[in-house]
Each structure stands twice: as C-alpha cells, then as structure tokens.
C-alpha cells in the first residue's frame, strides 16, 4: 500500500456505477420493499415476541451500530478539543459515515416501532417523560441527526459562500454535536438498566451508560480507521500512516479505560467469580474484553501501530469486541438462563442488512460526488 501525507479531501473519480454499488443498492432495495410491506402487515413476521420485545433493528441497527457511527464524536473531540489539528483532513469521512449510520439506524427505528405516527410527540416537550432514558434517546438522537450532525456535514455538500452565512454558528453547533451524542450514547446504556434482573448480572450495572459511551468512542475510532483503510484500498488512495497511528493511539487508550472499568465494576459488585464460572456468559464476557484489550496492548507500541496490517486487524478486533459488548445487554445476555431465545426472522434480517447496505451505497455515492475522502494533492 502506498503512503503519503494527506492534505486535502478530494472526490473520487471512479466510475459511478460499480459492482459493489449495485450489490449494496440491491440489498437496500429489498429492505425498502420489505419495509413498505411491513407497514401494513404488522410485526408478526419478525422473530420478536412479548418475551423478547425488541429485535435487531433496535438492538443492532441502532443500539449497536450507532457506535460505529460515533466517529464524528470520537474524531471530532480529538481534532477540536484535544487539538489534534492534523486530523481535520479525515473529519469529512467521519462526518459522512456518522450521518449515514445514524440516519439509516433511525430509518430502521421508524419501521420497528408499532405506532410511528405518534412520534410527533418528540417535538412537544410537555408530553415528554423526563424519567425515561428512551425519551432522552428519542429527543437527543433526533436533534443530533436532524440539526447538529446535518449542520456539520453542510460544508461538504454546500458551496463555501453559501455556508459562509451560517459559519459563525460553527463552534456552538459543534459543541452541541459533542454533547448530544455523549448524552444519547450513554442513554442507550441506561435503557437496559431499568430491565433490572432480566439482564445477566455480568452486564447489568449502573455503569451501563458509561460503558456504552466509552464503547461508542472506541468504536468510533475503530470504524474511522477501518473505513479509511478500506476506502484507500477501494479507491487507490495512499494511506497516511501518522494520522492512522494517532487514531489508533486514542482508540487504544479508550479501550484500556473500558477494560479496566469493566473489571473494576464486577469486582465492586462482587461478580468476579461469575466472570470465570458462568459457562457461556463467562466466555462472552471475557471475549468482549479480550477483543478490546489485546488490540489495545498491541497498538500501544508506536512502531506496531504504523504497520497497516496490524492496524487493520487490531481495529477490526476492537470493533467486533465493542459491537458484541453493545449487543449483549439487549440480546445475548437478555433473559438469561431461559430455554427460549430470540432469533430474527429472514425478513427481519434482510431489513437489518438492507439498512446497513443503504448506508454503504450512499457512502459510495457520496465520496464519488463530494470531496470527502482524504488524499495527497501537490501544491
């Protein structure tokens, strides 16, 4: 793989219609058709039931995958607040992928809820239940995507002189674009706190909001690393090793914080022995942590994190560990010890995969049309 210092975001000059685009568009179209059909047919075709009342659209497309959509938060905080200005060049990639992950997740949500036409209450504050973590997620995620994340993406799609009119708002909008995901990413964890003993004791903790937020940031770095590397391969771009190494360093430290807090949490709650004795749940718990911990230890070495192959495998492992962690409280460790399990139906899975494909297809179109992916251009 070629390497170079990225200095500008440039649109790709690949042909518009390519095999991957057609593939992901086809999957997305299947999901859209099924979604339209589902609106009239109810939810009985899913694997959900009254014991397992939430399925993959909520638990995976939203509660899990918005962690990958948190690269705007992770990279944004690093770039602006921690003043790593060299990362500005990858911010557009982060912002575009984030709005697509979030947007398709919320789209999925629209078909998951049974009475979406009542969602207008989200703009009527007097109908809000301020005790509800789901209220916080509904309001905060909607505002983030429709207002702040959208605003952050405008410079990518609008001519500079149009954006100049609303540019003075930039620091205040971006500050909100950091606060809001921090709020709703943690609230996604709070959602399962009220499920109490239905969630396995290795996962049920008052620390869930903190863990979900940390994992959002860690997965945000991981997804940005993976998206940049895959894009560079797919669009024949050089890779900027120092920038990737910076992202990897922040990801590794976030991972260490996650793993340390997680073990501290089970020690304090007296569940340490459960983590080694409770069969499949112990394996799952340790697996989530090891998938995050081992890459972090590897990436702490400055030389190792400069090797693309190491970087890719480590970021992929971290993302898997993080995503499985975010999937466990709602699904893998939910209603533990029962004979019955939830497994999504074919239609449900096709929609789940289709919404993700929709994000990928739109991303391919976006980098073709707009200056998003970083490149090296000469002066």
């Amino acid at each position: 793989m070629k390497t170079a210092h990225w200095n500008y975001a440039v649109r790709t000059d690949r042909p518009l219609i390519t095999a991957p685009l057609l593939f992901f568009s086809a999957l997305a179209l299947i999901a859209l058709a099924l979604s339209a059909w589902r609106l009239f047919g109810g939810l009985a075709f899913t694997g959900m039931n009254d014991d397992y009342a939430i399925g993959v659209w909520k638990t995976f497309n939203v509660m899990t995958l918005t962690a990958l959509g948190s690269s705007a938060l992770a990279a944004g905080l690093t770039t602006w607040v921690f003043n790593q200005r060299q990362l500005h060049v990858v911010m557009r990639t982060a912002l575009t992928s984030s709005i697509l992950f979030y947007g398709t997740g919320m789209f999925a949500l629209g078909f998951d809820v049974g009475r979406p036409w009542n969602f207008y209450h989200v703009i009527l504050p007097w109908n809000w239940n301020l005790h509800s973590a789901l209220l916080e997620v509904s309001v905060c995620m909607t505002a983030y995507v429709a207002l702040f994340l959208l605003y952050e993406n405008l410079p990518t799609v609008l001519p500079a002189r149009w954006f100049a009119r609303i540019k003075p708002l930039y620091p205040y909008m971006v500050a909100a674009a950091f606060l809001l995901p921090a709020m709703h990413q943690s609230s996604l964890g709070s959602l399962m706190v009220i499920a109490g003993t239905k969630v396995h004791p290795l996962w049920q903790t008052q620390m869930l909001p903190a863990f979900y937020l940390i994992q959002a940031i860690v997965c945000g770095f991981a997804s940005l690393i993976l998206i940049l590397m895959i894009s560079c391969l797919a669009f024949h771009r050089p890779l900027d090793i120092p920038i990737m190494a910076t992202l990897a360093r922040f990801m590794a430290w976030g991972s260490l914080v996650f793993v340390v807090l997680r073990y501290a949490d089970i020690v304090i709650r007296g569940e340490l022995s459960t983590a080694f004795t409770d069969g499949w749940y112990a394996v799952l718990f340790q697996g989530e942590n090891l998938f995050v911990l081992i890459p972090a230890l590897v990436l702490l070495g400055a030389r190792r994190r400069s090797i693309p192959r190491v970087l890719f495998v480590a970021a992929a492992a971290t993302a898997i560990g993080g995503l499985v962690y975010r999937f466990s409280p709602t699904t893998l460790a939910f209603r533990y010890g029962r004979a019955s399990i939830y497994f999504p139906s074919i239609g449900e899975l096709l929609m789940c995969v289709g919404y993700i494909s929709l994000a990928i297809a739109l991303f391919i179109l976006a980098v073709r049309r707009f200056a998003i992916l970083p490149d090296r251009i000469s002066d």
Partner: protein
C-alpha cells in the same frame, strides 16, 4: 508545502491544549459532580391514599377461570381460542387477547400445587411508566397504571422494563395496542367493580383500597399463623410495592413473582439517569465548557486556514 498543526506523534499534550484548559475542564467536571450528588435522594414514590387494588389468595382460588372469561367480556377482547381449535377460550399466557389469566403451578413430584392469577400488578412506582418516553403509560386516578393510545409509539420498552412481564403487544396489527389490565377503570365510574372480582364465586380475588386489602391480608395471616408463605403479603414492599397484592401457601417465586427485593425497577433505573438530567444542570455545564473551548479552537483554526489559503490558494475544508 507546510502543514498546519503540531508535529505528528507529539504526545498527549498537543500545542494549544494548555494547562489552563485542563484546569477549566477539571473545574467544570467537579462542579458537575457536585451538582449531581446534591439531589441524590431520589424521590420516593408512595401509593396514593385512594389507591385501589386486588388481593388474591391462592388458598381460596378453585381455578374455575370465571375471572378469565369475565375479563375478556368486560374489556371487549376477542377470546383466545387458538389451543382449542376455535372452541373454548384457552389462553396459555397473558397475551394481546388476555389481560387476566389463571395458571397452575405444580411441583415436579406433584406434592405441592397452587393456582395463580396474573394481571397487571398496578405498581406503586411502575417501571413501564418510567420507561415510557411520552407518558402513554402513567399512574392515573386511584393509582391505576393507564395506557393512553394517542401517546404510544409502540416502542415496547414497557415490556422490556416490566418485572412481571405484563404488558403485551398486538404483533399482527396495523395500529398495534399495548394490552394490559387497567383494573376495569372504565367500569368504576358506573359503580361497578372489576369484572374478575365481581364474578369470582369464592372471593379468591377481592377488590378494594390498597390500605384495606393489606389490612385484610394481615388479618388472615394473624388468624392462621403458618398457613401463608413467610407470613408475608407479596406486593406490600416488593419492587417498591404493588396495588395488587398476594397471599400464597407456596413460595411466591414458584408462582412467577420475582423475589428481588424492595427497590422498584423505576427507582433503580433512574438512579444515574435521573441525577444526570436533574434540571439539565450537568448537560448545561458540559455544553458551556465545550462551547468555550470550541470558540477558541475555531478562531485559531480560521486564522490558520486564512494563512494556508494565502499560501496554497486552497479553500479551507471544514
């Protein structure tokens, strides 16, 4: 070409991120912590004085299921006849057609058995109402947990949060409802009691004010020491208290009543969330800190960008 920004790999404390900034972040963080710990005594919710409920006594119930049929009629529900091939009402569990059910517990050796009546427990501090984003489920008159169709988005977090697995969802419907016992609140203004208590031939389930029901339950325990499990009324304290309370001759856990202490799920669930969002103090402080830093960073960035543009002729990309 010259690159703006610090040298790569220059360590954690990059230029421009001064000690004073760190101090400011630390100060707002500790202010936030302080604000968060002050109102730590989360509100304790007690049952309203006129709270209505049910008392069900397993030692009296004969398992006739008259209450199941009466409930279906009183609530205009389609009887669940699936198991009998369309002949009799034979629900196997609470479901979207069944708000009230009589189930049988029998120990594996057959020595111990009991009927069990299940319906909404009308929690004093209901988890469903705490989880519900737009107050579709809420405590209404007499402490009854009511469902309001125009506010329900069908998210089903009531089902996730309910410790008794009571709310049910119409999975096959176009405009699905949440189905659960509302203590026949549509009958109360007509001076009627809930259909289940009205029809019960042996008064295994009785209707009344929660306070009166608890008094009656304790009277029965005192009159028959040792007859009831742990000489205890389930729901008096459990999970923050319920307005439907139980007396049983077998362990409550065998009847599917969770033995998980006296803290309500709502209280447990709001411990952290409720404190962080109390008066929006913490978010406001964090926002102020972020906006302050962002303004400085953005001004510096704009300056750099102008320099860059004059040097390279390239417009800044945000």
């Amino acid at each position: 070409m010259t690159r703006h920004g610090p040298q790569r790999g220059s360590g954690e404390t990059a230029e421009g991120f001064s000690r004073r900034d760190l101090f400011r972040i630390g100060a707002s963080a500790s202010a936030a912590t302080l604000a968060a710990t002050l109102p730590a005594s989360a509100e304790e919710r007690g049952a309203p004085a006129d709270a209505l409920g049910l008392l069900y006594d397993t030692t009296v119930c004969i398992g006739c299921k008259a209450c199941v049929a009466a409930c279906t009629t009183a609530n205009n529900l389609e009887p669940d006849t699936e198991l009998s091939g369309g002949i009799w009402q034979m629900p196997t569990d609470l479901n979207s057609q069944t708000k009230n059910i009589i189930q049988l517990y029998r120990s594996p050796d057959g020595a111990e058995s009991s009927f069990m009546k299940r319906q909404c427990m009308q929690c004093v501090d209901p988890a469903c109402a705490s989880a519900c984003p737009f107050n579709a489920l809420s405590k209404g008159a007499y402490g009854i947990v009511e469902w309001e169709p125009t506010r329900c988005i069908g998210c089903r977090f009531c089902e996730i949060s309910c410790p008794f697995d009571v709310p049910r969802f119409e999975w096959a419907k176009f405009n699905p409802r949440i189905v659960k016992c509302e203590l026949c609140r549509h009958r109360l203004p007509q001076g009627l009691q809930p259909a289940c208590t009205e029809v019960c031939p042996v008064s295994a389930v009785i209707f009344g004010k929660r306070a009166d029901l608890l008094r009656e339950a304790h009277r029965r325990i005192d009159a028959n020491p040792g007859k009831y499990y742990q000489n205890r009324v389930y729901g008096e304290q459990d999970l923050g208290g319920t307005q439907v309370v139980y007396l049983s001759h077998v362990p409550f856990a065998k009847l599917g009543l969770p033995e998980v202490g006296t803290e309500s799920r709502a209280h447990y669930g709001e411990k952290v969330h409720g404190v962080i969002y109390k008066g929006m103090v913490v978010p406001a402080i964090v926002y102020a800190g972020l906006a302050f830093i962002m303004r400085r960073r953005f001004n510096a960035h704009e300056e750099h960008a102008r320099d860059e543009q004059s040097k390279t002729g390239r417009e800044d990309q945000l």
